[in-house]
Amino acid sequence: MSVIIGFLFMAAVYLILSRSLIRVVIGTGLLSHGAHLLILTMGGFSGSAPPVLEDSVTDFVDPLPQALILTAIVISFGVTAVFLVMAYRAYQELETDNMTLLKGNDEHD
């Protein structure tokens, strides 16, 4: 599982470093998948039932990481949406999706 997480992060970072804005956006999507899976992994995999009360089940998986992931998912959804809109607005205004051309000058421009 950890290997998969590492793989996800690797792919995400690779995409984020690329030149195309869309690929960068996709990279952030993968990044959040990786992060969520990592939280899940951190909860451990012991426990045999979903953390929902049911008669005669006592061995639940750890519910806390799930709650955390849920929060994280929603947040990253919001961030993705903002990023996406920002990306296309940037494309509209700057007329490029090439990250290299998005460099700009630090000094008074």
């Binding site: 960068v24 992060a35 947040i75 700009g104």
Partner: protein, 493 residues
């Protein structure tokens, strides 16, 4: 009132909600914002008073016992920071009236500001590490909105970078929290601290501590993670810049302070040494940048980085003097940065440019502005009795006491660079031959200058009136120095 410490978080939050009902009515937006801010300032002042009188305030939400619910904790440090943030935001709200423009005001400028303040105050107050993440996200999300609002070319270009960096850092943050949870099985910071000291700070915990330092360092702009900051901060309009410069990085710094003092103080030979080296490098990097540019905004922005380095250097000393100095300097820097950025805004409004080479001779036409700037500049550089001095004095003292002589000397020498960078602004903008400037109406000038001058006056008071503030600083540093006070206040309810 056991919920008192929540008020500075909830009042801006509520204000933001109310503001969302009528986004297009500018005067109503302004009125509600000001009312909300004043209420928030008052509540945080009461909070600070209460904390000083009764000791650390803690409430675990939902009436659950401490490590299980989310605990909000207000110690002198966080209460002080909350009050500072509120005051600065109030000033910037006034400042915005004349500078931000109706377009932005009609498009959720004030709610975003209030949300951001909510996030900042929450991050200062929370005692739960995942909740800290959530508050970080609140303030970051609000900052995304603020940085891009208006949709100018430069804003969009820099917002992309800003948001990207922060998405990455958030991903790292949340994973680090998860790892911390995996090892210690808890999320409450006091509980983590107690458990870490119980089981000993093993290797993995130290690595997690390093991760946390780096993650917060990304927000707080330490070396080698500060690169995104200068150009991003320069993009939005000045009030937003002032807000960012005063508050955002400081949240990261605050979080690092908590991390290394409360959660992981047991391996200073590694974590604190590392933090010290990083902070010195940060100072150096900031100095390079502060000298390198002839742009008003850039110069002051790089000074943020220098200040971050100085504060963290103080923290890394882990003795009373160093910590107290760090607290002192932290609050000083919030005020002074807000003041400087607001003053820069006035200059830009007058000259119509932020390029130093295109201005000059303002001393003749705007003497009050010049003197205010000079006071602020000397305050920043730490000329006694202005506000920057005592923090730096204590930090140096802490460094010397800890035996880091060269570190202390570098910190002192950095003041010189700071002074050079801001005095250069004075020399180029206010001295020299007057150059033709755009000029601005008297009303706008006053609307911008008065809040800026008030904040600067506050910094003067902060320096001169050190004696009255000292108990706060001392208590704050003591809690940082002896985390058991904090832990007990949270866990033994």
């Amino acid at each position: 009132m056991i919920n008192l410490l929540l008020f500075p978080v909830l009042i801006p939050f509520l204000t933001a909600m109310i503001l969302m009902f009528f986004p297009k009515r500018v005067s109503a937006q302004r009125t509600v914002t000001v009312i909300g801010m004043i209420a928030s300032v008052i509540s945080s002042a009461i909070l600070l008073y209460t904390v000083m009188r009764d000791g650390v305030q803690a409430v675990t939400l939902g009436s659950w016992p401490a490590p299980f619910g989310i605990t909000m904790v207000s110690d002198p440090l966080s209460a002080g920071l909350v009050l500072t943030s509120n005051l600065i935001t109030l000033a910037i709200v006034f400042y915005s009236f004349r500078s931000i423009g109706a377009g932005r005001e009609k498009h959720f400028y004030y709610p975003a500001m209030m949300f951001m303040l909510t996030g900042v105050n929450g991050a200062f107050t929370t005692g739960d590490i995942f909740n800290l993440f959530v508050f970080f996200e609140v303030l970051l999300m609000a900052s995304y909105v603020l940085i891009v609002l208006g949709g100018e070319k430069r804003q969009l270009r820099e917002s992309i970078k800003y948001i990207l960096v922060n998405i990455v850092s958030s991903a790292f943050f949340v994973t680090t929290v998860a790892m911390l949870y995996s090892v210690t099985g808890t999320l409450n910071m006091a509980d983590i601290a107690a458990k870490v000291s119980e089981i000993g700070q093993s290797g993995i915990l130290t690595v997690i501590a390093v991760m946390l330092i780096l993650v917060f360092g990304l927000k707080g702009a330490i070396f080698p993670l500060y690169f995104w900051l200068p150009s991003s901060y320069a993009a939005p309009p000045v009030p937003v810049l002032a807000l960012f410069g005063a508050l955002l990085t400081k949240v990261g710094v605050y979080a690092i302070m908590r991390t290394v003092t409360l959660l992981f103080p047991h391996d200073p030979g590694f974590t604190h040494e590392m933090l010290m080296i990083l902070s010195i490098l940060t100072v150096v990097a900031g100095c390079i940048g502060a000298l390198a540019y002839f742009d008003l905004k850039q110069i002051v922005i790089y000074n943020i980085i220098i200040a971050v380095g100085v504060i963290l250097f103080g923290v890394s000393q882990m003795n009373m003097a160093g910590l107290e100095g760090a607290v002192f300097y932290l609050i000083h820097d919030m005020f002074i940065k807000a003041g400087l950025f607001m003053l820069i805004g006035v200059i830009i409004a007058i000259t119509g440019t932020s390029n130093l080479r295109e201005m000059g001779g303002l001393l003749k036409t705007y003497p009050a502005l010049a003197w205010t700037w000079l006071v602020a500049a000397f305050g920043l550089a730490g000329i006694p009795p202005l506000s920057g001095f005592f923090g730096k004095l204590l930090i140096t003292q802490g460094a010397f006491e800890a035996g880091n002589l060269w570190g202390g000397i570098i910190i002192l020498a950095s003041s010189l660079i700071v002074l050079l960078s801001v005095i250069r602004i004075f020399i180029h903008a206010f001295w020299g031959e007057p150059k033709p400037v755009k000029g601005t109406s008297k009303q706008i000038y006053r609307g911008l200058f008065v809040p800026a001058a008030l904040i600067t006056a506050l910094t003067v008071f902060y320096g001169v009136g050190t004696e009255w503030l000292r108990p706060v600083m001392f208590d704050a540093a003591e809690i940082l120095h002896q985390p058991s006070i904090y832990i007990d206040a949270v866990l033994k309810e």
